[in-house]
Symmetry: C2
Subunit: 517 residues, 2 copies
């Protein structure tokens, strides 16, 4: 089970088939593999040894996939950097797992100096662009042109393949490890459940640094089909691309679906090729679902639930999106355990609860992470007796479908991104006027949830909502910054002195059936 | 990755769904799992410890599947005994892997005393039948009724799950080991390639002691669908069962397909539910294929190639069975490497040969056996650098499709020319009077080996030796044509439905030190 095996199979069976399409640039498997083998040689020449981490800070492109495969082909481990992060966040994650090489595209060039200047070990920088590389950087295309192909290092099985950083409840992001074997099994399980379309043309719009996009990428490589890639989600370009490339499979988050179906270009484009729309990150409202089904007739909707630590865990299949199923609320389920996946709902003592009772979702599968990079304590907390503790609260119905109602760990999901309250609270706390703060998620039409900060100021000190927001923006990614700020004299505390976030959240979620979106 | 996980998932999601149908007896997943957990307890009480081998000598039934699952649930390893073997052969295999418990059904009761009397360690015998157990045997039903359920032992991953003895083509049978992980991965790979039918109702007619049937069984458990089981292949009962149980998926070998479509009951039965027909063991002739497609319109044909050591390796998909594909001979391919499987064709030195050149098929995949039970030498011979040496000769075309030309050791060398039996058999099969044939090498003074054909004629039809020879001469080179022809009522078949050429060759080579010249 090694991820580059997918390339060898396609080379044997269909070398002249197109593998990537990026803004009109197409590569066949033969070309793609040739470039991968050369780029792997370049990475080795630049110092990448077996098991070394190499990073990429770039929007989606065909080069992103070449680089991922080249990292594995050359024996390395991929660290795909969150493109929404600030320089300190990027540097933190690169320092944390000692990433020695970084590919950076034009979009993120302004961050290059900051990264090089503050990282513990200044990374070798590779510029993934079309023009000449800036001074002090290698040119991606030149490296490929000037390097000789090397044989596949064939790391696989329990060898580490990827480190993906997610926000941490402790305030610092942690690196989720996935091995070749865990990614491979996670994908196979998914494919057995939701078979790839023959002649599948997937449009990748979600950022590749996310597990959701990475699973789609690997599935498509396993199936030997075509990747159509957009740099990032943009509804107009997306509609145009679906029509031009005859896309038959989409993966979106509900926020994007809404933007797409409300776009003025929708009626102008032929979207008749689309057969599947998979969505994730949050449940979809009946209104959006109905509207989308009307505008995209004949499309199968399915909802997948999972996380970086587990890959895809549950799937709510198309049949649960029919009008009859909607009437029973089945479209609000996150689905049920896929093939090869154990899911159970437990109480605080770890005992399975009866159907219909809310508890924490636990997951066990070959696709679950072996742990967090260099974080034995957090690993031990998340993985107990082989079960991943998701921190998500849900109940299960008689058919095994789970309905997520709450989040046990303190996290906000805004526009499909996980925001850990602790991280935001840490930054707010650094503002000189702030005594204490609590960050919660409040319902938001477009983003599902929005980041909301409740702040107690130090006595005699002042700060405006705007000052707090700007302070945050200087330290963390924009999606983590509070959309709204509320000042109070005090925060509600439990007997143990813990902030009672449930009480803070309650008025915002009044009248809703769930306390998360 | 543990095989009983499939049961836990179905218990969680669909406890009241039917899992087994055997001659009208139906069990739900809830009933089935209850029986499995009790039977596992009984096996432990009878002495089965973790990793111990337990055997079964029985025709196919629902109990066979319960027993397999109970062996795993209780922590044991299954040894499914070849039902075509004599007492000494059964005892050889049980002694070889030290099988301490044996389930035996009514059909094989006459062998019980012989087994008990000659095995190194007399096995505990369990009678799987409906009446009282014979003296000295436990009653299968009584054990279930009187035992308490035990928790799942959850052996999995690299733990041994099964030992399957393969035929004596090379002398003594050897026990092929498969672990929970290798069976699991082999099945997932297969499912990713050939997704299970939703609402799949598979009819099991091939013997469960064979890997081909076991893969189907496990796939069906993974998918959580229905097993309809027949004790063994019998065309009349099969036709009746397809109609009654609305079977949508069949697995056969070409010999069986022929018997089925030539059966007088065919026209009387409604086979409209059948959507898939998978066949294996040998390629199918264009004539049989055409006839079958005419009689079973709308059915997807696919051919899978594999062996006990590797599970399924290649699949020739339905599209290669269309008239256009048949015109190019693509229906004669064994298919190409499935998802997750490496296949290459090598020469005697282990170097990959160019496309179109015949060599030995090598396989590498997570579904390949870790080796033979207690046979390090034979393991080392079969598995070199992680590659399984299949002993099958084939060439690969430009699209990666392999065409098997013969068992390498079955190849006939006549006058210095290589003759591949399959090629001659294909030609003979096109003669209108021929039902089936086997071509072997027999010793010949002048040519070393001479081509000898053993032929079964269609009932009521005639052909002379001369006619056959002339028919061949019209299609292939003279040296490939049979020098001698022998007509028989039937051909000796293995458990897998493969023609036992060894048995055909034996009388010709009696007294010789080798079986080739």
């Amino acid at each position: 089970m090694y991820l580059t095996r997918t390339l060898h199979r396609s080379l044997q069976q269909q070398p002249d088939q197109i593998v990537t399409i990026f803004r009109g640039r197409q590569r066949t498997y033969r070309e793609f593999c040739g470039r991968v083998a050369r780029l792997a040689g370049a990475l080795q020449a630049l110092g990448m040894q077996r098991g070394d981490r190499v990073g990429i800070l770039a929007l989606n492109s065909d080069r992103y996939l070449e680089y991922a495969m080249a990292a594995w082909w050359g024996g390395g481990v991929l660290n795909p950097v969150n493109v929404r992060w600030s320089v300190p966040e990027v540097v933190f994650s690169m320092d944390d797992c000692d990433t020695g090489i970084l590919v950076i595209d034009d979009q993120f060039l302004p961050m290059a100096e900051g990264i090089r200047g503050t990282a513990k070990r200044a990374p070798v920088l590779i510029h993934a662009g079309d023009g000449d590389a800036p001074a002090g950087m290698h040119s991606y295309e030149r490296l490929i042109a000037e390097s000789a192909p090397v044989p596949d290092a064939r790391r696989g099985g329990d060898d580490l393949a990827i480190v993906m950083y997610t926000g941490g409840t402790t305030g610092f992001p942690k690196g989720v490890m996935q091995t070749h074997g865990s990614l491979w099994c996670g994908c196979l399980q998914r494919m057995a459940d939701t078979p790839p379309l023959r002649g599948g043309r997937v449009l990748h719009t979600n950022p590749f640094f996310h597990i959701a996009a990475m699973v789609r990428v690997l599935n498509q490589f396993l199936a030997g089909e075509v990747h159509v890639i957009m740099p990032s989600f943009e509804p107009r370009e997306m509609l145009e691309t679906i029509e031009r490339e005859r896309i038959n499979e989409l993966a979106l988050v509900p926020t994007m679906i809404q933007l797409l179906i409300n776009h003025p270009d929708l009626a102008k484009r032929d979207l008749g090729s689309v057969r599947r729309l998979g969505y994730g990150a949050s449940a979809i409202s009946a209104a959006v679902l109905e509207q989308t089904m009307e505008k995209l007739p004949g499309v199968d909707f399915s909802h997948s639930y999972g996380m970086t630590e587990s890959m895809i865990v549950t799937t709510n299949p198309p049949e649960n999106h029919s009008p009859a199923a909607r009437a029973k609320g089945l479209h609000l389920s996150a689905g049920r355990a896929g093939i090869g996946i154990d899911v159970k709902i437990v109480d605080a003592d770890g005992n399975e609860v009866p159907r219909g009772t809310v508890g924490e979702i636990l997951v066990r599968s070959a696709g679950v992470t072996p742990g967090y990079w260099n974080r034995p304590e957090e690993t031990a907390k998340a993985l107990r007796d082989g079960w991943l503790h998701t921190g998500d609260g849900a109940y299960m119905n008689e058919q095994g479908y789970i309905f997520i109602v709450d989040r046990i760990k303190d996290m906000i999901v805004s526009g499909g991104e996980n925001v850990y309250s602790a991280e935001v609270e840490n930054v707010i706390g650094r503002h000189p006027a702030v005594a204490s703060s609590a960050v919660i998620g409040v319902p938001h039409e477009q983003w599902g949830e929005a980041v909301h900060a409740v702040i107690v100021l130090k006595s005699g000190m002042q700060a405006s909502e705007n000052e707090i927001r700007e302070h945050c923006r200087a330290h963390i990614a924009g999606y983590k910054c509070p959309k709204t700020v509320e000042f109070r004299q005090s925060l509600p505390l439990s007997g143990a002195g813990k902030i009672l976030k449930r009480d803070l959240r309650a008025p915002h979620w009044e009248g809703k059936s769930r306390a998360v979106n």
